[in-house]
Symmetry: C2
């Protein structure tokens, strides 16, 4: 009887075990988990803290309310799960794992024919003075989430500081503002989501977050945590901020000590190296989940990209291969999505920064628009596409807005997986009905804009570049919206601006100078694009369109009081 | 100066004109529209009738509230739009169109260098006795929508009969039930959405519609409309039903008379035949929108599939090619989506019926599941995949449920456009976060189920086949849900059923007979699938899983009172 031993009982490990059981009804399958609980939905913890989920046990249950306990796995799948059991060492020659029972302190050894390492990752704890003070948490285990929520409910916390503006940081910023705390996010890099967003999309998120009361301090470094026994303030390189709750969200590192000690190859990312069948450097040992590195399909580079969705796919691949299969894991697109109150932001494939670094001759476009017909209560979304200027292959996509962002990210991910071009993206016969989208979906508009740019029919300019021109006074900004719209909201700090509604452009052409560089725009820059066409037809040669319009302008605006 | 003449001012025609203007700032561009209004969002009319949209003018406005009037097109795009102007004849030799001013009755001729036919389609009016009675409407023009809504608001209508259970019919069924009318839908075929859904998915829709008070009479044929001046009843081949409002929604036919009279080739579908550059049999005449036929990418067959999204794409292609471009329109997937109250149903590519007709050696699977983690307030969706059993290529997808269906349909459409396999579908690195989906997205679950079926690891049975076995008493139905769940809802009319919760299967194995055919299931049949694995491991050789579980069961259930 084949003995399968799995180290780690959260996502990849349990999935591998379940899949292996499916392929081999005879094997002995044992899962070791050092914690007390297994199979919990760690990604759901911010929603428990924020109050969307009321009972933390819900994160550990199946959809029909059954707790995913060792008993459940034994009964339903004949899988033995040993909790509070830590794997201490792997003896690859004799194929034995030394384990410690954390409840009793007793040691034991368990033999294996095939071993799976799914030891996950751990939150990075910065080695800064005061980091061990009370009320400083990483949101990594349900116990952290419980402690934070209990503190909130006991009225202990008023001012929270979150260190790191990545996924966990921004999800927690939403959660804690929902709970009426004053929230400050301190981020070392100069933008939110620095690991995956380009600055103009990040700017849209920051601006929105500020409106929701999230105080974001970017390009600011935490130096120490201050307090006697519990944290009372955070000292950064710029100021000292009072706080009674600190959440550390500066990322994770893979748990590779066991694998490294056993002599398995660790990749350059610091995570366990595996081949495309999820096998480590030892053919009898597989590894998956947050402790391994993945290949990014677009860049071909190895990346450390822990994600619950990826871990589950790893588990499936490992489970099949444990039973003699040769299923391959293709890789990741570093797709991410996050909710910040009503805003969704997502990304798949390469960012512009990535494309530049990899030496692509690329083209980008940013378009904004309603996510369905305006009469159906549309919300705006902004899409940025990055494409190869020569092969027309889509390299990456980012999207942000209060509208339906996730759908567009996932369609883009499908196109990237298949190596599609912007033409393929345009061609997709997407479903259409007014409750769901406009006849020309935002993705098709974006693809079309790239085509037009490549054909020289659309001369766009990113808000970042436009802001530079604005500051140097180099260009005339031409706002072609109606007077009513302009009254409601306008670009701030823009001295060189003209307000001429699109419909009056013909009659008021004399107000513009052909020698000037003109940056035309409107709410979403569709009319800005029409202004470009009209002005070019009228002999203007240096007209640009502000991509994304006012909706996507990441800088300050003046608003009607 | 090139003269571009466009016949038809709704979707394709105006889009072609606008795109042409973009490519050629000098051309003279004229659009003829026989109606009084242009560029209206016809697809939005059911939402106006139902009360989601309050002002019908909203359907004619740009997102910023500007009416898409001839003046707007003149000002913004230098395009001349002549309303109430009907094209009567095309003289292809002298390149002249005879037009009639419908307001004055005057005739005129307009010359062209390039002509675009975008005459759209018209609602089919059945030639049945009484069809000209009052209060019988096709929902084809804003005037119809206005009349119906005015009648509702005046309290004129109480009992509505909708003829046809297609897209317009079911959207109107929602609209009229929302307006508190008694609604009956009479459909000649034996299911809702007969043109694109397979029966088991259609069954889920019908069952839901019935719960929402929509009385669906399938396989029933209307024979006459009864009344003096206004309709008072509808006579079918089975009964006479009182009605004070009738909506005809039995489909559309392309307006091809003008093209046919000019000697242009009409395709076998009855719509205008065009090449992949949207050119008719006359190289100087393009045609697009609802009056032309399309190629279905999956089947390679010509289809008549009028759709606002397709019309807009046609317009773009035509606009480019009018100016010397050689842009191609790739074709359609016959993707559709419809909302019926909180339910969404969609489809892309081939149905199982299509695949069978085309002679594919295909495999199907139906899976149900929550559209995100249960603790985030998930709603269920059911996905049916149709794949080529040999090449593993995805042929089509259908989805239905109160959860997020549109996203999954669009991702499937992307995969179909790129010719992807079920493995590609599984591989997509879809975005994951609890507010949006589960770590393993429903699409990946469906793809995985097909893989398992092909590998002989999952023995599924469709509800249609299961119902037959139920009726003949041939199989034992094994419900492995908890007693609490079974108390709430159970399969009706199923004498040969056993209730053994999954967790008790091991201890109660003696209650089952190895000689029996066993159909295992649960709420979504995930536990049903586990039961299959367990029973097979225990030596049972004829175990099947009811695909989609109780959630997708299209037949009657018994419920707790």
């Amino acid at each position: 009887m084949k003995k399968i031993l799995v180290i780690g009982g959260v996502a990849a490990g349990l999935k591998a075990a379940a899949k292996a059981r499916r392929c081999d009804s005879q094997a002995s399958i044992t899962v070791l988990e050092r914690g007390k609980i297994i199979s919990y939905g760690a990604c759901g913890m911010p929603y428990y803290v924020g109050g969307d989920v009321n009972d933390i046990d819900d994160l550990m249950k199946t959809p029909v309310g059954v707790l995913r306990s060792p008993g459940y796995f034994k009964n339903a799948k004949d899988i033995t799960v040993l909790t509070q059991t830590e794997a201490m060492a792997i003896d690859r020659d004799s194929k034995v794992v030394t384990v410690k029972n954390l409840a009793t302190g007793e040691d034991d050894t368990l033999p294996y024919d095939k071993l799976v390492i799914a030891t996950g990752a751990s939150a990075i704890k910065p080695s800064l003075p005061g980091v061990e003070l009370g009320n400083i948490y990483s949101l990594w285990h349900p116990d952290d989430a419980k402690a934070i929520r209990q503190g909130i409910e006991a009225g202990k916390f008023n001012r929270a500081i979150i260190i790191g503006a990545g996924l966990v940081g921004m999800e927690m910023a939403e959660a804690l503002t929902k709970q009426q705390l004053q929230v400050t996010v301190v981020e070392m890099k100069d933008q939110v989501f620095p690991a995956f967003l380009d600055p103009e999309i990040a700017g849209v998120v920051s601006k929105y977050a500020a409106e929701k009361g999230i105080n974001l301090l970017a390009a600011e470094k935490v130096e120490a945590f201050i307090g006697e026994t519990e944290v009372t303030a955070v000292k950064t390189d710029k100021r000292t901020i009072p706080a009674d709750l600190v959440v550390l969200a500066i990322g994770a590192r893979p748990n590779v000590e066991l694998a490294r000690a056993a002599g398995l190859t660790i990749g350059t990312t610091g995570a366990i190296s595996v081949d495309d069948e999820m096998r480590t450097s030892d053919p009898d040992i597989y590894a998956g989940g947050d402790c391994v590195e993945n290949i990014n399909i677009m860049s071909g580079q190895k990346v450390f990209a822990p994600m619950g969705s990826t871990a589950n796919k790893h588990g499936r691949v490992i489970g099949e291969n444990l039973c003699g299969g040769h299923v391959k894991f293709k890789g990741v697109l570093n797709t991410v999505i996050a909710k910040v109150h009503s805003l969704t932001v997502g990304k798949t494939g390469l960012s512009e920064r990535d494309a530049k670094q990899l030496g692509y001759d690329y083209i980008t476009v940013m378009v904004a628009g309603p996510d369905k017909p305006h009469y159906m209560g549309a919300k705006s979304i902004t899409i940025k596409l990055i494409a190869d200027a020569n092969t027309r292959k889509v390299l990456g996509m980012q999207a942000v807005g209060e509208g339906e962002v996730a759908k567009r990210v996932d369609v883009a991910a499908a196109v990237l997986t298949m190596g599609g071009t912007i033409d393929d993206l345009f061609d997709i016969d997407l479903s259409y009905a007014p409750p769901y989208n406009s006849p020309i979906d935002n993705l098709a508009v974006a693809a079309n804009a790239v085509m037009n740019k490549l054909a020289g029919k659309f001369n766009g300019i990113s808000p970042i570049t436009a802001k530079e021109k604005m500051q140097t006074g180099k260009a005339v900004f031409l706002d072609v919206r109606t007077p009513d719209e302009c009254k409601q909201i306008r670009l701030a700090d823009c001295p060189n601006i003209k307000y001429i509604p699109l419909g009056q452009l013909r009659s008021r052409l004399a107000e513009l100078n052909k020698a000037d560089e003109i940056v035309a725009f409107c709410k979403i820059s569709l009319r800005g694009y029409e202004a470009e066409g009209f002005l070019e037809g009228a002999g203007f040669e240096n007209v640009k369109v502000l991509e994304g319009g006012i909706v996507s302008w990441p800088f300050a605006c003046e608003k009607e009081e």
